[in-house]
Point group: C2
Chain length 385, copies 2
């Protein structure tokens, strides 16, 4: 186990009806609230009205940043920052999925920064102060509700970048708010959280038995519950398990003492910076190909993955066969739940492969399980066509 | 899954050499430090000198509360509170195991309270303010390094009580600081953390797949690593795994959305309030008997426990037999690693059974898996003789 430092101060309010605590929570920080949300789905199922009524009933003044994109854009974040500064906002309240939360994080740190907020994403500055941030999550996926990561796209530069920004002060996770999430988004969410686990599971760090078991626990729980939420979108218990897994998959815990590898995320960011495809759609395509490209670096890890997570029976099979069976099971699972399997599913051909590989390795080689140079990334992208 | 609220702001600094960050951490809060420690074992392996040198080298003024007992006493806590008030202490620094940390927590909240600190333990008041608390852990056991619980004994009243007090601001967990922990203390620590898991695992709450897998993950990791730390006390990786398990077992996470049952702890507290035996020694005796007394309340949970944690093969056995085999495996494991198995091992006879049962149920029936009245507790104690 490696040395590690860990601190995660986010307060989680989990379960049906937790929104009742919203006004009290907001009042801990003030009364001027910037409500950040996306394309308006929160209006269709009544959450928007509920939030507005609760805030106004508690004498809050509500400002709005609406229309946050699925891959949130820097220009949108900048609009929110301007509003915060102009109106002396006390608290940023994100109501939505990971993109909305990520944008709200950019707003929260940008509002307390004199320079250009892109500096944080461009690794030119480190966020040291932020407006308090509240979250009402409506999509189980990114884990952004309990970490300090934020991913924003600079559309003009075609660059999608992640930065450490600020932890939400509180996050309300009510599984009923995910009942109306469409099937494709539900699938993407599950792919996203599984990918987060992969990125912390495929590691060369030795002696991480508890961390490994935790990772496998999340994967098995998602695998068990995925068919249930797809067949019964209003099954509270299954939605609760998936929501819980999404948060636990990326709240820092799985990475405790473990060397992680975010190469696949990096590759996907390069793809969706150019093609604006759903993040997790890209991950579902790239991850199995990344696995196939790297598994020989530590075949024991992939054997464990195959047997523990997918129940592959190793008897009578070579190590190689067992490892590949686990990768194949992953691909088949993604396929079975309706995720895309190749870039062609998004009409992406080999035209921009060099460009994407270049973007993914902008800061140098990526990954630790296997260090990927530009040419490696290009090869994984070609395998994904 | 039940609704839950969760927040744990403690910063963990895990691994060899993390003490190098001590002075910086302390300086975040001030320079007047109350060092709290136990019987002096920290002097024998050099930790005391190291801490003092680091603090004095960073221009800290160090006051001391030494001699905290294994079952820390209210009188000791009170001494620390007086010192804090008298000397305007900025930070309480606990260097030791769970007892030292628990006492330091009592000191930290008592220093910011005008009334009698026992009020918190006697459920007459709720701690609302505290001095900041730092921890340097030397014993993997109680999890107190990452939660707000504190257990203190009022010796005159023969009452041992737990209270929610304050989270450590930071905890330094260096496995090398546990290398010299004697064998019996090492065993007690592992029994203690396993007991914490049991208390959050044996539950009637349905649909807690991830929580259950996490609990089983900790148990399996302790079971795997226990023989290694006992045979090779200076095996860093095994000590690290055990230390990590101890913290994860009681940082609030396993209880997320789960109805827990602390009856066995309550019974043990009543025993050690009268006999001053090691807490975990009492737990090793009481837990298997509690299991035997309650397993029929939810036999499926005990079947899962037997098969998942202990690898009991259910084929050809009745549910009853499988459940009992898991309980028997628990008892044998405790026995194998050298924990006591009956109260007679501490020369405890039936003389005070009524009294202990009375104390354990002082606030009413205890437990949720099976609600235990005074008579039930007495029966479990008789089974433990």
């Amino acid at each position: 186990m490696n040395n590690f430092e860990f601190r995660n101060p986010t307060e989680i309010l989990f379960g049906k009806g937790q929104i009742e605590k919203l006004a009290d929570k907001v009042h801990e920080y003030g009364t001027k609230v910037l409500l950040v949300y996306g394309g308006g789905s929160i209006k269709s199922f009544g959450l928007y009205d509920d939030v507005i009524q609760r805030l106004q009933g508690a004498d809050c003044q509500v400002f709005e940043l609406a229309g946050v994109e699925p891959n949130p854009r820097l220009t949108t974040v900048q609009k929110g920052i301007d509003l915060c500064k102009q109106e002396s906002i006390d608290l940023v309240l994100a109501v939505g999925g990971g993109s909305v939360v990520d944008a709200a994080k950019g707003v929260a740190v940008g509002a307390k920064y004199d320079g250009d907020v892109w500096d944080f994403y461009d690794r030119k500055a480190v966020a040291e102060a932020a407006l308090p941030l509240g979250v009402i999550l409506t999509l189980a996926a990114t884990g952004s509700e309990m970490n300090r990561g934020s991913v924003v796209t600079h559309w003009e530069k075609q660059e999608k970048r992640g930065a450490g920004t600020t932890f939400p002060a509180f996050s309300i996770l009510d599984p009923t708010n995910t009942f109306s999430v469409p099937e494709d988004q539900t699938v993407y969410g599950m792919v996203d959280m599984m990918s987060h686990v992969f990125e912390q599971y495929f590691s060369h760090t030795e002696n991480i038995p508890l961390q490994s078991r935790y990772a496998e626990s999340i994967l098995k729980t998602v695998i068990d519950n995925a068919p249930v939420v797809l067949e019964q979108p209003k099954n509270y218990e299954a939605r609760a398990n998936i929501m819980y897994c999404g948060t636990m998959a990326l709240n820092g815990q799985l990475a405790q003492g473990v060397e992680t590898d975010w190469a696949s995320h990096g590759i996907e960011h390069a793809v969706s910076a150019i093609y604006d495809i759903p993040h997790a759609g890209g991950l579902a395509i790239i991850f199995p190909n990344w696995m196939k490209y790297v598994y020989k670096e530590n075949i024991d890890r992939f054997i464990r993955f195959a047997t523990e997570v997918w129940g592959v029976d190793p008897s009578g099979q070579s190590d190689e066969e067992v490892a590949l069976a686990g990768i194949q099971a992953t691909r088949e699972f993604f396929n079975k739940i309706g995720a895309p399997v190749r870039l062609a599913d998004y009409d992406i051909d080999d035209q921009h492969i060099e460009d994407m590989a270049q973007k993914a390795t902008h800061f140098g080689p990526i990954g630790s399980f296997k260090k990927l140079e530009k040419e490696d990334v290009a090869e994984i992208l070609r395998m994904s066509l």
